[in-house]
């Protein structure tokens, strides 16, 4: 029985990082290994991060637009019998 009350998301596993952040962390690790980190590359990183965040925002908005209304009812009614 699905509950209507939502609980704030808390990642259940250590190490699950969103793709964008994971990518950023990777890039940061590489830059730390370098002897110099220029201001330009730091700006590029945060600009890239912002872009990724904006893209994800747009994606999530689009998902909300196409997502079936009355999700709880829809999911409750979805039953499949007789499958291999």
């Amino acid at each position: 029985m699905l509950q209507t009350q939502t609980i704030a998301a808390r990642p259940a596993w250590a190490g699950i990082v969103t793709c964008a952040e994971g990518g950023q962390q990777q890039v940061r690790r590489t830059s730390d290994a370098q002897t110099e980190t220029t201001t330009t590359s730091a700006n590029n990183l945060s600009a890239k991060g912002e872009k990724l965040r904006d893209e994800m925002d747009a994606l999530i908005d689009e998902i909300d637009e196409v997502l079936e209304e009355n999700a709880e009812e829809f999911v409750k009614n979805y039953v499949q019998r007789g499958g291999e």
């Binding site: 939502t6 596993w13 699950i16 969103t18 994606l59 998902i63 019998r81 499958g83 291999e84």
Partner: protein, 495 residues
């Protein structure tokens, strides 16, 4: 050197009719299958005569009853398409079987063609049901209520390889490959311990290691022995454990790696793999850990992670490639992608958020929860788990990702469109598809390994096609070109 690897897949689709809570799934499946705008004038039978689903590869036959539909029903539930595929009703689901393919990229494009065909059928069928209602179709394996429906892969193998050898050497691969081909799933099924998200749609439904059944007590290794080909030469390995995938890259890797592993087994190249202490348990434990770090017990007392198990197979594949430069030309790229994916999984699985279905799905779910301040019990999360697999390009969440360039592609549009119309040129599907196009109403019945013609005078003429590597364009084009009628074709074959 082993025989050519012919492959095919069968996808059972999930089905619902919106605003019709009492919908009849068998009737709706029938309607769908009869709504595809191929040649609906074709009245031909699926030839059940040569089907043996109760024969077991371990060397016996189940003494049970197997229902064969009568002719009227047969024609309603079975459509054989001019691209060599079969579109039919299986129990309560619409099902699509690809034609026989000679390589993984062909298989991928025919699977995608199947999704398009299902969608077109849906559009056609929706015209015929009461207004306000709408058929929705999902390419997934779980209804979140304890029921599962399958995606089956079929691999043609040399009969001389003992079944037990295949089972033992393939088992650990099958248990662990889900880390790069699971379709992802919210929650758990079948009484297993709760996790909010798991890697595989199918894992919770598997209860035994080996067996004949496909619907209850599902086995990791299915022993069905129904080659649909020359029994003395061939075995068809029927793999029921895979998830249906939306991502092209995921399908490519899933089937491509399986092909390479089976090739190595058949060539007696693969030694005994590390043996799992409890494969069914391992299957679930691996699925229930999206960090891919869980180590499962091995027979020798050690533990291994799924990545380590896959690395063992991958290492063997690298050696195989080095020693077999004449292997199938698709193998090097498959093995390369396999290696890269394993590296990235080991670093952080979420790096694969453009490539692997379960990661792509998890990625949008966690970002959704973060932005909307919700959690795993939000009904919209369960809805997204389902709608990821909606086959409508304008509604399916996978297709939202694809449209925004967030999904790695293997195909171009042209590949998919032509696969809806034309059969592969390099397997017996070519002969089947071209006969269907050319001789239409003179065809009486079809099966994977035969085609029967009604040439008017005398009995039905059945042509056996027991060799999946023949009946190709190269073999039969001239014969087809000089045969204007089915009668002429039969005469030309016989002489």
């Amino acid at each position: 050197m082993a025989l050519p690897k012919i492959i095919g897949s069968e996808t059972e689709y999930g089905l619902v009719v919106q605003n019709d809570p009492d919908f009849d799934s068998i009737a709706t499946s029938l309607l769908l299958v009869n709504s595809y705008n191929a040649d609906q004038g074709l009245r031909l039978l699926w030839d059940y005569d040569q089907e043996d689903p109760l024969v077991d590869a371990r060397g016996f036959e189940l003494d049970d009853e197997y229902d064969v539909p009568d002719h009227q029903d047969n024609m309603a539930i079975n459509k054989i398409l001019p691209n060599g595929a079969r579109f039919y009703v299986d129990h309560a689901h619409p099902e699509f079987s690809t034609p026989e393919c000679s390589n993984v990229l062909d298989l991928l494009r025919y699977e995608k063609a199947g999704d398009r065909i299902l969608n077109l059928s849906r559009l056609g069928a929706n015209q015929l049901i009461p207004p306000g209602r709408s058929i929705v179709i999902y390419k997934n394996n779980s209804d979140q209520k304890g029921n599962s429906y399958g995606y089956h892969e079929n691999y043609l193998l040399d009969r001389r390889t003992p079944f037990q050898t295949i089972a033992e050497r393939f088992m650990p691969f099958l248990v662990s490959r889900q880390i790069f081909c699971g379709a992802g799933k919210v929650g758990v099924e079948n009484g297993t311990g709760y996790v909010p998200y798991q890697i595989s749609q199918r894992a919770d439904f598997f209860e035994t290691e080996m067996g004949l059944d496909t619907m209850v007590k599902r086995p990791i290794i299915n022993t069905r022995d129904e080659p649909h080909a020359n029994r003395d030469r061939y075995r068809r390995l029927h793999v029921i454990i895979g998830d249906a995938n939306m991502s092209e890259y995921t399908t490519y890797l899933k089937v491509g790696t399986a092909l390479v592993v089976l090739q190595m087994i058949e060539d007696a190249f693969l030694p005994d793999p590390p043996a799992l202490r409890n494969p069914v348990r391992a299957l679930r434990d691996i699925s229930h850990d999206p960090t891919c770090k869980v180590a499962v017990p091995m027979k020798n007392g050690s533990t291994m992670t799924a990545i380590e198990l896959q690395r063992w197979y991958h290492e063997m594949a690298l050696r195989y490639l080095a020693q077999h430069p004449d292997c199938h030309p698709t193998y090097p790229a498959i093995v390369q992608e396999w290696g890269t994916v394993l590296e990235r999984l080991a670093e952080d699985p979420m790096q694969l958020c453009r490539e692997i279905d379960w990661v792509m799905k998890l990625h949008i779910l966690t970002n959704y929860m973060e932005r909307r301040g919700s959690g795993w019990d939000d009904p919209r999360i369960a809805m997204m788990d389902l709608q990821y697999h909606d086959i409508r390009p304008e509604k399916g969440l996978y297709y939202v990702l694809e449209r925004s360039g967030a999904a790695r592609r293997m195909l171009v549009e042209e590949d998919i469109v032509r696969s809806m119309e034309d059969p592969p040129e390099d397997t017996r599907a070519y002969f089947r598809g071209q006969c269907l196009k050319k001789f239409k109403n003179q065809i009486f019945g079809v099966n994977w390994d035969s085609i029967s013609f009604n040439i008017g005078d005398g009995p039905i003429k059945r042509i056996m096609m027991e060799e999946p590597t023949r009946g190709t364009k190269r073999h039969v084009q001239q014969l087809l070109d000089r045969s204007d009628t089915a009668a002429a074709l039969v005469a030309n074959i016989v002489t």
